[in-house]
């Protein structure tokens, strides 16, 4: 199921890239992939503010601006916590977005959904989705939203690592998202280089792309101590000879 849905995502990414849609195609992909009326991606900045990375259309852009201005809404909550939704903005609901709800409805939205974009303890932001008709997501859309959120997280890492579209597709096709070695290696590098785990994940990717090797292979070398980061220069140090001594 995943492979099949991932292929759908790749096909869409390629199509939107070809059409030259404003830079970041992921929002357009998300909206079309899940057959919704719009999507936006909000990113948590270094100063913990939420900023808009991209939106799929004008309405999605207006909704995202509204949320960021008010500091309440599905993406705001999802960026700090779990997935959430309001399936009918015109009716009484459990969501606490008192100011957001009528204004979002005035912009044409009837149901809004937020999904966290995260990887372990790293919070990137949130995927925000909306529809102009009320009602919950169906089971497939809900699963797809999690898949899309994970693709977005990895796309952000891959982009920050200077990777190409090809690198990203390679990564998504490679070892699983939750490859334990990659996360262990990131934890080790974070301590070696006195950097954040997120920066360590970016560095790992940048080095794997540069060296033309698989991310999981590089991670395995880091975990076994064959490749490490110099604490001063943050340069990579390879020690293949250690292999024979151990």
């Amino acid at each position: 199921m995943t492979v099949h849905r991932l292929l759908d995502i790749f096909t869409l990414i390629e199509r939107f890239e070809r059409e030259g849609s404003n830079g970041y195609a992921l929002c357009a992909v998300a909206a079309e992939f899940m057959a919704l009326d719009g999507a936006g991606i909000a990113m948590i900045s270094d100063s913990e503010d939420l900023t808009s990375l991209c939106t799929s259309n004008n309405a999605a852009g207006a909704l995202m601006d509204l949320e960021i201005t008010l500091g309440e809404g599905p993406a705001v909550d999802a960026s700090r916590g779990d997935a959430n939704e309001d399936t009918n903005l015109l009716k009484e609901s459990a969501s606490n977005w008192e100011t957001y709800r009528p204004e979002a409805a005035a912009l044409g939205a009837r149901a809004v959904f937020g999904f966290p974009v995260r990887l372990g303890a790293i919070r990137f932001g949130a995927l925000s989705l909306f529809r102009t008709t009320p009602g919950p997501l169906n089971a497939e859309q809900d699963s797809d939203a999690y898949l899309m959120a994970s693709v977005i997280g990895r796309a952000i890492l891959s982009t920050q690592a200077g990777g190409s579209q090809e690198n990203l597709v390679g990564e998504l096709n490679g070892a699983s998202m939750l490859d334990f070695r990659v996360h262990q290696a990131a934890g080790m590098l974070a301590v070696q280089g006195c950097i954040s785990v997120k920066d360590a994940l970016v560095l790992l990717r940048a080095h794997a792309f540069g060296a033309g090797c698989q991310l999981s292979e590089l991670a395995e070398r880091v975990v076994s101590g064959l490749t490490r980061l110099d604490p001063e220069s943050r340069e990579w140090i390879d020690a293949p000879e250690i292999e024979n001594n151990e």
């Binding site: 372990g120 939750l178 934890g187 080790m188």
Partner: protein, 246 residues
């Protein structure tokens, strides 16, 4: 301990754990450890399906790299995948070099001394959400009673993942699965940091994390998050001394 008293003790222990704010990875780890004691197996682990249907490792009776690798391979093939897709138990499957059923998994499992595998489905109202995987270093049959006990523990694991919610729709279930799997990623990131800071192996890194969490009445995931976000330093974790597997 007699099996009956061991099972009673396990159920009491789990009931004790399944109160308000329990940590799902911790509870599943306890379950795997008890499974090894109650059923005649040498290693046990739980794999869960992500919302988009990919099997991922979440908890095991052993955190050694070689055992974790056996779960990592099963993202793609192996007894867990077959059990998960078919929704049916695989019991007493003898591993042999001539067995072509799992070309990647079998040779690795044999190399680590395992001779037989079992996989029991974790089911919830018609949906299979994962599988409990059991490994044995000797061949020979698991009795019907063993299977019954192991399936009972798999069912308890299923309940543990769903936490204390009474109604579970597809969206809520996806959120629970996604959170459990993300917790595992946080723990792997933290293990890497502990290993690098203290020079221990990954197995001990996990035990230190768990010992500290228990000593200070803190959730495993919460503590791992504090490590990754650097609000606690790995060298300040309590020492871990080997006692009965607890």
């Amino acid at each position: 301990m007699e099996r009956e008293s061991l099972l009673i003790a396990t159920l009491v222990e789990l009931a004790d754990n399944l109160v308000d704010d329990y940590d799902v990875i911790d509870v599943l780890t306890v379950l795997c450890l008890r499974c090894v004691e109650a059923v005649d197996v040498d290693a046990a682990g739980v794999m869960l399906a992500s919302p988009d249907g990919e099997l991922q490792f979440v908890a095991s009776s052993s955190e050694s790299m070689t055992v974790l690798e056996l779960f990592q391979i099963q993202t793609n093939e192996g007894p867990c995948v077959d059990c998960f897709r078919g929704g049916l138990a695989i019991t007493n499957h003898a591993l042999s070099e001539t067995d072509g059923r799992w070309p990647h998994f079998t040779p690795r499992a044999l190399a680590q001394g395992f001779r037989a595998v079992h996989s029991l489905p974790m089911r919830l109202r018609g949906r299979t959400i994962g599988a409990l995987n059991l490994f044995r270093t000797h061949q020979g049959l698991m009795t019907d009673d063993d299977v019954l006990v192991a399936q009972g523990l798999a069912d308890v694991a299923t309940i543990a993942i769903l936490q204390h919610r009474s109604t579970i729709d597809a969206g809520t279930l996806n959120a629970q699965l996604s959170n459990a799997l993300n917790s595992r990623v946080i723990i792997e990131q933290a293990k890497g940091m502990i290993r690098q800071s203290t020079g221990c192996d990954m197995d001990e890194a996990f035990n230190r994390l768990r010992a500290h969490a228990r000593n200070h009445n803190e959730g495993l995931t919460g503590l791992a998050t504090r490590l990754v976000t650097k609000s606690i330093d790995a060298i300040d974790l309590d020492e871990w001394t080997k006692t009965r597997s607890s």
